[in-house]
Amino acid sequence: MIEFQAVTKRYDDGTVAVDHLDLSIDDGRVTVLVGPSGCGKTTSLRMINRMVEATSGTISIDGADIRSRKPALLRRGIGYVIQNAGLFPHRTVLDNIATVPVLLGAKKAAARRRAEELLVTVGLPSELAGRYPAQLSGGQQQRVGVARALAADPPVLLMDEPFSAVDPVVRDDLQEELLRLQSELGKTIVFVTHDIDEAIKLGDKVAVLRVGGRLAQYDTPATLLAKPVDDFVAAFVGRDRGYRSLGFLSAHGVSVAPLPTVPLGSSVESARGSLRNGWAVVVDDSNAPLGWVSGVSLSTVEGELRRDDLVSGGSLYVADSKAGSLRTALDAALSSPAGIGIAVDSDGTVLGGVTADSVLKSLDDARRSGEVPS
């Protein structure tokens, strides 16, 4: 366990970056430090491996004061992932990953073998082993950064806004990958971000810091959304927190109704015959949804249904996975042109439809049974 006890960081010019921080970070969990810029989140993180020295107070790891160890030696036992990856441009991917084991005295060949395994662990093809960082995409560099931090198998991983410099789609992939990795590795991860959505997605617990380095609230994401302690936290957590808290509620109670489907390439007449309430879903050979047709949209089509004739659909609700929350179900319904969200199984084939009404009814049921904190 990492323990902050009354930790303060005051710079020479008098600015206080972190003010009497008390925080217990659980082993094997992801703890996210989040807050606006100037809240001392990165400073707090960097105090754990002594890249910044605390002015007063104590930080201990498993009961041992971090000041009892030399900084360089302490750091070799703590993984660190930095913003923009911070890879060494002059070393190949493999040698970047092997950095800490080599510092710890491992033979180069052994360290490289371990690095090759890690390349696979973080989901990169082994062809990248001999490349230089400049030859990788931002997302790939960040994965190498994670692999490098994991190379010596440290129990603690510090991550300093690691995904903030990549585009949203890649960021989403990297976040999923981190959650998958964490479910296998069970590291103690301290993660810094300014993005509350990222904090809520990744954190087992989230510490919200306010400007001036004071802890505002330290709770699970669900509690943070449901019961922010004050206006600052409520404002920081965001206006859509009611909607976003649906993301923590399972959609297993939402009823999935049958949905009319039409294979691509069917005649317009048969498509028209399948419409229910004016809409039908067009599917491909494997029954995966491609889009919608309506009475109106079909009125301009002749002969067979082609891809160009479809009205594009909304988001999909994956019903049989852990990702199937009330939020994804509701979003599927709201974003669909027909007002009916398409529910698919994990292979992507159509199971049926969900409506906003059925999602709200399921939320109501959850409230009544006490599943939702109120």
Partner: protein, 219 residues
């Protein structure tokens, strides 16, 4: 061409002397500049002093520096060490700035990452910062080497040898021996080109990473 063909052994041996006179100062200058460049990059005050002073040193005319050296070093006026010491000064003048700039160009995130991995200051310098400085460093060394090869010829005025001998000797003969003068010039230029090419090649061999850019995949 007759003169040249008759004097090939002398020309070759003078070329060897010339190279040694020019390049030994480059090596010594590099060793001296590294810590100075590091200091200049590390402390702003040091940079504010070292970089302008080294730039100033480079503006001192070579002949003047050659004749001041005995006063500074306590050597005899015609000792070749005077020329080598002066050329070392020029090398340092060129390289201190290069090294300081090259070290300053290493991205902050790379240095922070190196510290976070557990490098100590010295280890980080040799394992991360210096290798990343090599492209700029080699560029500086190439300039210093070529400049020294040309300056050694001036040293002939205080009698150090090398290819400058043929320039002076040819000019002082009567009538002037143009074959001798041209042979000296051509050899000096040739030495400069060859040394510059070799250094460029060595630099590329040392920095395979610098040629790899996004999208360019080595097969």
């Amino acid at each position: 061409m007759n003169w040249v063909l008759d004097h090939i052994p002398e020309l070759l041996s003078a070329s060897g002397d010339h190279l040694q006179l020019a390049l030994l100062p480059v090596a010594v200058g590099l060793v001296v500049s590294l810590p100075l460049g590091w200091v200049a990059n590390r402390w702003r005050v040091a940079r504010a002093i070292l970089v302008p002073v080294s730039g100033l040193l480079y503006t001192i005319p070579s002949l003047a520096l050659f004749v001041i050296m005995p006063l500074v070093l306590g050597t005899r006026i015609l000792d070749p060490i005077n020329v080598q010491a002066a050329l070392t000064v020029y090398t340092v003048a060129l390289l201190v700035r290069s090294i300081a700039d090259a070290l300053a160009a290493v991205p902050e995130s790379v240095i922070a990452a190196a510290s976070a991995m557990g490098y100590r200051t010295g280890g980080r310098f040799f394992a991360v910062e210096l290798p990343l400085a090599v492209p700029v460093l080699i560029a500086g060394v190439r300039v210093a080497a070529v400049s020294n090869i040309s300056l050694v010829a001036v040293g002939q005025i205080i009698g150090v040898g090398g290819l400058g001998f043929f320039l002076l000797h040819g000019a002082q003969s009567s009538p002037p021996n143009y074959q001798e003068i041209v042979a000296g010039i051509v050899l000096i230029v040739l030495l400069a080109l060859v040394v510059d090419g070799l250094l460029a090649f060595a630099g590329r061999a040392m920095t395979p990473w610098a040629r790899k850019r996004a999208g360019v995949v080595a097969r």
